[in-house]
């Protein structure tokens, strides 16, 4: 993982959010307050706009900077939650050494980032006081993080990890459809939230998918 790769991630995430504007908008309008797309787009755009600044930083510094930027640009609940993810990742990576190897090429680096991501997700859990099954972004992020750590521990190939995580994220996102929300945007709706996918779970799934697809296509280019 290096900072240049992170900037590419931000670009592909922004693209994915913009392409899915109508989906995110309609999901949040159904059982939320309709601002999720705008907030996510503003956050992702702010990260893309700071790419020159990010390029000069180490991954640890860049992740922390990204967290602080999201904290000051997204607002709502998504701001502090996503900020906690990136700041939590940065904090955990800082306790480890040698973080400059590209993620695509090193099993060790993959595990390191899996552990950092898991710590970031844990920071979201603590900030949001929520867990799996509450119809939030965590229904995507917790299974993805668990699966990533598991596969990385087993030395699974990066491409396989990416393909699996895309599926896990998709399943997690779809699982929110039949849940009653006990946290987050739809928590006051009771049974009326059933049948609707949570917008935060959807945007998280889109981000996981975008980054995994980026890694898969980069690997394809390198090893045709």
């Amino acid at each position: 993982m290096n900072t240049a790769f992170m900037i590419k991630c931000a670009q592909t995430i922004l693209h994915s959010i913009v392409v899915n504007e109508s989906t995110l908008e309609s999901l949040d309008r159904e059982i939320g307050d309709g601002d999720h797309y705008i907030n996510m787009k503003r956050g992702a755009s702010a990260i893309v706009e700071m790419q020159t600044e990010l390029a000069t930083l180490s991954p640890i510094e860049a992740l922390n900077k990204i967290g602080l930027k999201l904290l000051s640009t997204i607002g709502g609940a998504s701001g502090p939650l996503l900020a906690s993810l990136f700041m939590g990742m940065s904090k955990t990576l800082a306790t480890q050494t040698d973080t400059t190897e590209p993620i695509q090429n090193s099993q060790q680096s993959t595990l390191k980032y899996a552990v950092a991501f898991a710590a970031g997700v844990q920071a979201i859990v603590l900030r949001g006081k929520a867990g799996v099954g509450e119809k939030t972004m965590l229904d995507v992020l917790i299974p993805v993080s668990n699966q990533w750590v598991l596969l990385a521990t087993q030395n699974t190939a990066v491409n396989t990890i990416c393909q699996t995580l895309i599926q896990v994220a998709e399943q997690g996102m779809l699982s929110t459809r039949n849940l009653i929300a006990t946290k987050g945007r739809a928590a006051s709706l009771g049974e009326r939230a059933i049948g609707h996918i949570d917008a935060g779970a959807k945007s998280s799934q889109l981000m996981i998918e975008a980054v995994c697809q980026l890694i898969l296509s980069d690997n394809l280019k390198e090893k045709p």
Partner: protein
């Protein structure tokens, strides 16, 4: 969507600028990050800061001034403000007795203010307002929402802070006023978030949304439109049930009745609601001795209203009656 907009991205700053210009004798606007403070910094008192998504005007910036808030942090429409706004606002208004945040109980607002409080170099406390009795607390852990009752909390705590009370006393009064306050809203139409460009929810000519929140988020249930008295009766009952659940006696108790418009309901109808609600509460032994009718906590262009009842003891009554000088709430003694 038909609204007075130049473009949605500039709308908030243009509106804040107009607000600051119109009330330049009382407030000062700071941009990037956005926050508004009193024109003249208060000295040696607990600094009271509130904030939340925009679209609820005059909440919160309209309550900046003597006897109420020291600063307010406006977020984007219906979106919580961010910690950088709160930190700079705190730095600007801190007056050696700590910072009290008044925060409406929504996950986003709570988390952003929580992170700000953690990063703050000063002593701070937070009053969470949760007067909306449409949402049942025990079922949903996010809890009850803060709505129009927040204005009463800001008024009373502001008065106490002005009198030189310490941080913990201010927080205690805020919590007490919140406990003694219950609100419920009803929507006749949806609101339209400017950047979204279309109504937040669909509702037909013959339906109402009972228990609606101030962002157009659904409430208790969708009901059939009926005469005002029948709607108000249900709202009054919900409030009475709430006080009963909290074990708060209502018989022979004085109360403040606030009928709040959501933005697109005429004052004529708000007074009609006040008339009915006041009679119904009186029938239950409550003495309505204080009142407030108007648009105090809005939801953009939503048509509808909320009813708030605050049970008064001598302390709350004193602080409600005390002088305030703000753009949206003026009281002279």
């Amino acid at each position: 969507m038909k609204k007075f907009i130049n473009n949605t991205d500039d709308m908030l700053v243009e509106s804040l600028s107009g607000f600051a210009l119109a009330h330049q004798d009382m407030v000062e606007l700071h941009l990037n990050p956005n926050f508004i403070t009193r024109k003249k910094k208060a000295m040696n008192k607990v600094a009271i800061i509130s904030g939340g998504g925009s679209g609820h005007e005059p909440l919160h910036a309209g309550y900046i001034g003597y006897g109420m808030l020291d600063a307010a942090c406006p977020g984007y429409v219906f979106t919580s403000p961010t910690p950088d706004q709160m930190l700079l606002a705190a730095e600007a208004v801190h007056a050696n007795k700590g910072i009290l945040f008044i925060v409406k109980n929504y996950a986003g607002d709570v988390m952003n203010f929580e992170m700000a409080a953690e990063m703050l170099p000063y002593e701070s406390a937070t009053v969470l307002t949760s007067d909306d009795c449409a949402v049942i607390n025990s079922t949903y852990t996010t809890g009850r929402r803060g709505v129009a009752g927040t204005v009463i909390v800001e008024k009373c705590v502001g008065s106490l802070a002005e009198a030189g009370a310490d941080l913990q006393s201010c927080k205690a009064l805020g919590d007490k006023v919140n406990l003694h306050t219950a609100s419920i809203g009803v929507a006749l139409t949806s609101c339209t978030v400017p950047a979204a460009g279309r109504p937040t929810f669909d509702i037909s000519e013959t339906e109402i949304e009972m228990g609606v929140g101030i962002h157009g988020e659904p409430g208790r249930k969708r009901e059939i439109m009926r005469p005002a008295n029948a709607i108000v009766q249900d709202m009054v009952n919900a409030i009475l049930v709430d006080f009963k659940a909290k074990n708060l006696a209502i018989n022979n108790v004085e109360a403040l009745l606030l009928v709040n418009g959501f933005g697109a309901t005429p004052l004529m109808e708000l007074y009609l609601i006040f008339n009915t609600a006041s009679q119904l509460f009186t029938q239950h032994g409550i003495k309505i001795t204080r009142s407030l009718v108007g648009n105090y906590t809005t939801a953009l262009d939503m048509s509808g209203a909320s009813i708030t009842l605050c049970l008064l003891d001598d302390e709350i009554k004193h602080h409600w009656d005390s002088p305030s000088h703000t753009p949206a709430l003026n009281k002279n003694q």
